[in-house]
Each structure stands twice: as C-alpha cells, then as structure tokens.
Symmetry: C2
Subunit: 425 residues, 2 copies
Amino acid sequence: MSRPRAAILLTGNELLRGVISDQNAPHLARELERLGFSLTRTVIVGDDLADIRAGLRAALEKADLVVTSGGLGPTHDDRTVEAIAAEAGVPLVLDEEVLGRISRWTDGVADRYGYERSRFDAGNRKQAHIPEGAHVLGIAGTAPALVVAVGDAHLVVLPGVPSELRRLWPLAPEHPALAGLFSRAQPRRQWLIRTYGIGESHVADLFAEAGGDPEGVETSICARNFEIEIDIRAEAGSEANGAAMGERMAAALGEFVFATDERSLAEIVLDLLRERGWTAATAESCTGGMVAGKLTDIAGSSAAFAGGAVVYSNELKRALLGVPADLLEAHGAVSPEVAEAMAQGARERLGADVAVSVTGVAGPGGGTPEKPVGLVYMHVASPAGGEGRRMEWPGDRAIVRARATAGALQLLRAHLVAGPAHAQP
Amino acid sequence: MSRPRAAILLTGNELLRGVISDQNAPHLARELERLGFSLTRTVIVGDDLADIRAGLRAALEKADLVVTSGGLGPTHDDRTVEAIAAEAGVPLVLDEEVLGRISRWTDGVADRYGYERSRFDAGNRKQAHIPEGAHVLGIAGTAPALVVAVGDAHLVVLPGVPSELRRLWPLAPEHPALAGLFSRAQPRRQWLIRTYGIGESHVADLFAEAGGDPEGVETSICARNFEIEIDIRAEAGSEANGAAMGERMAAALGEFVFATDERSLAEIVLDLLRERGWTAATAESCTGGMVAGKLTDIAGSSAAFAGGAVVYSNELKRALLGVPADLLEAHGAVSPEVAEAMAQGARERLGADVAVSVTGVAGPGGGTPEKPVGLVYMHVASPAGGEGRRMEWPGDRAIVRARATAGALQLLRAHLVAGPAHAQP
C-alpha cells in the first residue's frame, strides 16, 4: 500500500513576487513527511481569484490532501476561501458560531484600542462565511482555519502568518474528518548522520561503496549549512535495512560525523559547554558578531556564554583583546598568530574558560595574492591548550562569513569534545 | 496589450521536502517582474520523472515563459532535461560542442586533483545530451543552461546552484530565441516608500484616504523586516498616476518615511556615517552580536564601523563597558539607565564617535510582570547628545531579537539624520 499523497498551496502576491521569503512550505513539508505522506508538489500563486482556483486544481492533481496557507484575511484581496468554495462547487454560507467567536475577539480589540465596534462588522461577516459543509479547525484572530472536502481529496486551509499556521496545523491530524486519511499515512523511520569537513562527492562515493539503497530505504545526501547530511528513511517493514545502512555509513564516515540529531550547531556547542561547566567567549573580526549571534540564538545560552568582542579595526584588537601591536605589524590582522592572540586575549579579558577567534578576508575587496578573499584563520584556546585552523574557500562576502561562522563553531565543538579530557580549568 | 506571463519551476527533493530553503524563486520572481512579465505561479516538485513532467505542465499552463531551476547534474536523479524533452515531444541528442566544452572542464578538474579523466566520461555524455532544437545559453561547470521551445511557450532551463543560476540568468534576455518574448514584456515603473514606526492597518487607512489605486497603478502594502513598505507600480501610460500616488502617500506618511530605495538598513546607516565622517560602535546584550553582524554584512563597513561588545553577563557589562555595578543593582540589566551606560561606555572604550546599545528580555525565560519577554531598551550616544527608546512587543526569541536589531539600527539612523546638526565630534 503506497503512502497517501499531499501537496501544499501558498497564496499571496508578496510570496509569488519574491518580496518576502516563504517559511511555511518548508515547515509543512517536513511535517507531512514526518507524518507519513508522500509529497507531490508545492504551488505558489498570487491573490488573483482565477490564479488561486487554477493553483488549487494544480495542487489537487493526484493529491489526497492539500494544505493551503494564506488569503484568509478580511480585505478584498484575501480570496482563498472564495476560490475553494468555487472549486468545491458549494456556496459560501454564514457560520453564526464563527461570527460570534470572531465578533467577541474584535469587540475586545475595539475596546482595548478605543475603536468603534461596528468598524469590524463587514470584515467579520466576510470571514465568517465558509464553504458549505466545511469544518472549522480553529480560529487565529479573526481567520477560521478549515477542513474542506473537494471530490475525494481534503483541504486543510490555514492562515499565512507563520506563527498562526504553526499553532493551528497540529489540530489537523486530530480532526475526525481527517482521521481516515491520517490513519493511512505511514511514517518512515529516519536516521540522520551529519558530517563536517568531507565533500559531497566523497560522501556519494562512500554511499555507492556501501551498495546504494537497499529495498524500502531512501538515502538523501544534502549539503546544508556547510555540513553534509546523510538522511536515511525506511518504509514500514524495511527498518532493519535502514538501520544497517545507517551503521555502514556511520562507519565509513568515521570521525567526520559530528551529530546524529537535529540540534543546531550552536545548541550542540552550548550543551558541551554545560556538560563541562565551562563558559565561552568569542573574538570576531571578519564574522563581525555572527558567531556570538548564533550562540545567543539559543534560549538559556547566558548560562554558558559570557559575551564576545567584535574587533574590526586593529586598534580595537589591541584595546579590547590586548593583541600586541608588533604582532599585527609583523603578520597582519589575517594570520594564525593574530587569531591565536585574539583567542587568548578574549579568554583573559572576557573571563571565559574557552574562547574562539575568527579573522579573515570576507571580501569583495581587501584580497591580495598572499591573502585572498576567502582566507580565514580561527583559533580556540582553553586550559586544555590551543589549536588553530586555516580555511580557504573563495565565495561572495555572505558565503565567506557564513562558512567562517560555521567553521569557528565547529572548531570550538571539536575542541570541547577532544580537549577537556586533558585538563580542567 | 497585456504583459506576457511567466512561471517558475523548481526541482529537487530537498526543496520539496523543506530540507533546504529556496533562494532561487524569489530572485527569479523579482527579475521577471522587473523585466515586465506578469507572474502566474511557482511550482516545486521533487526528483521523480513523472512528477517533474506534471510540474512542467502545471507551470506551462497559461504561461509564455517558464524558468526552471535544478536537476541538471550528472547523477541519475538529475532528470529535468529528460522531462523537458518528453514534454516537448523531441528526442535527446548529443551536442558535440557541449561535450567538448564540458570535457575540457572535467579534464582540468581531473588533472588538478589527480583523478582519472575517464571517470567523468559517462556523466559528461549524459550532460551533453540536450533536447533536439534546444539552444545552449551557457555552461556552469558541466551543466548546460538551455532555451527550449515547447508549443507556443519557451523554457529557460537553469542549474539549481544559486550562484550559477544568478550568473546564467542574465544571458536569457539577450538570447535571440527569446528576443520576441522579451520585447513584448512591459516593465512597470516603480516607487518605493519605506516606513518605520507605523502599523500596517494605519498605512492601509491612509491608502484608502488617498483614494486607492488610480487607473493602471497597483499599490502593495507589505510588512517586511519590521518595516512597512509601500510599493507602487504603474503600467506604461499610467506613470503620472503612479507618481501622484507616490506623492500623496509620502505626504500622508510624513516623518515615518525613512527610505525610498532598496538599500538595506545597515547600508543606509553606514552611508550616513560616512557622510558625517563618523565611526560607530555597538554594545549588545539580548541581540548578542546581531547589530554588529548586520553592519559588517556590508562590504567596506570597516571604514565606519570599528567594532562592538557583546556583553551578555553583568560582569562583562562592567568589565568591557564600565557599566557601574550600583547602576546594574539599582535598575537591573534591562533598564534605560543601563542601556545609556552601555552606549556611553562603548563610545569611550571602543573609541567611536557614536555608539548604540541594546538590552532586553529575549525570552522565552527570564520575563517578569515588570519586565516581560519582549521588553527592550536601546540608547544611542554621540557628541550630539543621547537618546533612548523603549520597545515592548511580545514574540518568540527569534522575533524579539530580530525586531530589537532593526530597532537599534533605526535609532542609530534617526540620530544620524537629526542629531549631528547640533554638534560635531
């Protein structure tokens, strides 16, 4: 029995025209995969009614489930519900219960901000009209999320605001009208192997040497965030094949493997710091605060991250971190010697157990034949000792900086795994 | 005469499944809009041949031009060209010139890394097969980008690697086979008004009061990066209407308008700094380096940005920035007093003309009834004086931090526009 098929439909001129970037399709896609659907396609259309209707037809083709996002608001260009009713061949009808709920909500807003309550009447009535026979999944503000049957397929109709979509989507698998569909879904078991420091084609070779995918297993090799991820999924009944593939790949990849779960790199570093009871500091030149930014992305990072110095100018490398002027003059700011002095200075001046530094040529200007754009030195210093890394990959400024940020966190991670065995602060 | 219609097709399992985020569709959409096409839809499919063919048909519906991205590589799951030939009803034929060009390229790679040249033969022959009658637009590594006629429509077939796609796409409007199509495209004139500190519904009210869109003009109001952008586009012949709408909206929005071009906020700040001949420094707590990161995103920022301090702990607020211990004790780290002391400390200790500080509760933990998650204080200090801002918006950690980063840059920008009239350093 094959897995049920699902598609995603996004609506909105801003999305279609690339004015804003979509976050909803990747989220919904991962959810649908996790729950055991096979994805057919994602379709993005604007706010034009005919385009939305055509987009619905394109999404429904061969799909058992279509999840839509956007176009549920009160204004004239929010037309998803109208398009759905037209495609389902049913009228829009006023749902009195929905009208009551959203009117109570807008009454509250009106009272709080001193608006006239009646100002919301027209919008509320529009939003309380739903396709005949539709189920209400939940309400976000004034927008009802819906479950609608269209032919043999079902639609789950969600608002476009990412936080509202994420709050309402989990109600769908629980809804009685979708129980049959979700019971047919077949989650695949997943093994994740994340590597750093090995190329994608090398991983592909190892995969081929491991014999390729056995029956019922699908392995994807994907470069993401400067890691290479090996994602192995096994259908029901093929779990042993999937597990065996995971073991073969993990053995072949050896020390390049740094994680087998979904935690972000910053989270992994912070967990290692907490295990050791250490605090960390950063000293950044070309990454300009991005390493500190990644660490502080994580809730609770203050327990293990004290702070950092962004030292763009040589003057600040001296003043904030105590990098000796003669070192800067002899080797230049982009050098292993200065990277080391920055890390040691950050440890001392910022009072941390371990510090990591980054200095490099982010470009597009500033490169020389000896020190080209993309050359980056990193250093990590702790009571367990110090170690430096050199990285040289050409690329545009954003790529060089992002790669150097990942590289510095990887250096810190590797040091935390290997280093503290030798010493304690 | 209506504008020609264009669609976008992306292929790749990682994209469809949300493993990686797409950058190509927003880029191509903006390009197609700019060049005068009307966008119909974007379709994303995986690597399955039947799904790609169905996706091609869905993208071609009502479109004069479809731009595809991805699936041009040497491996078995790169099947875009095969799908296109099948849909166009033509065979794949070996293009000897393409084979020669990509073989020279792989010979170079083989020599450089010590591989056997013959290792590439099979992949090269696969990639040198193109649909009969297709034009070669250019080559990225071993992947030929193509122009293919399908019925009355044209396809522009591009690789999925964003840097390669961006390099090859500009060749399309120049290609003789597409000359007729691009000559029918009608770029719309555009006016952009970017505001900060005013709500989307307030802007929508002002737009309604301005009489809504006149003939041939389309105004979009869009929240992006914590700004509200008013994007006005006028078709050929309606430029005067568009300009008048732009003037009415700019007048109605008054001092909320901070830009009328596409420069990033960090770029605007750096340009203002350079005009004044000033250098800036940052002092960040809850944003953890993100303000410095935004400024150093911009090439050449070192001329106006010296560096910054990320002071997550109270200890570092004292040690790096000289924030008095009694101030921290009396008011707490999240207070206007500490924000001011951080900015002044950064100016002095980091030797900058102007400094901006941020301290707040990013959450999800750490909130209290008096100082809830989302409360952020900012301060800017310069020879022209100092000014603080308070911001309180609930939200998840990432939103609070991103909004505070934008808020700090906006405070710095406003100070640079208004402040330096009164004093010079």
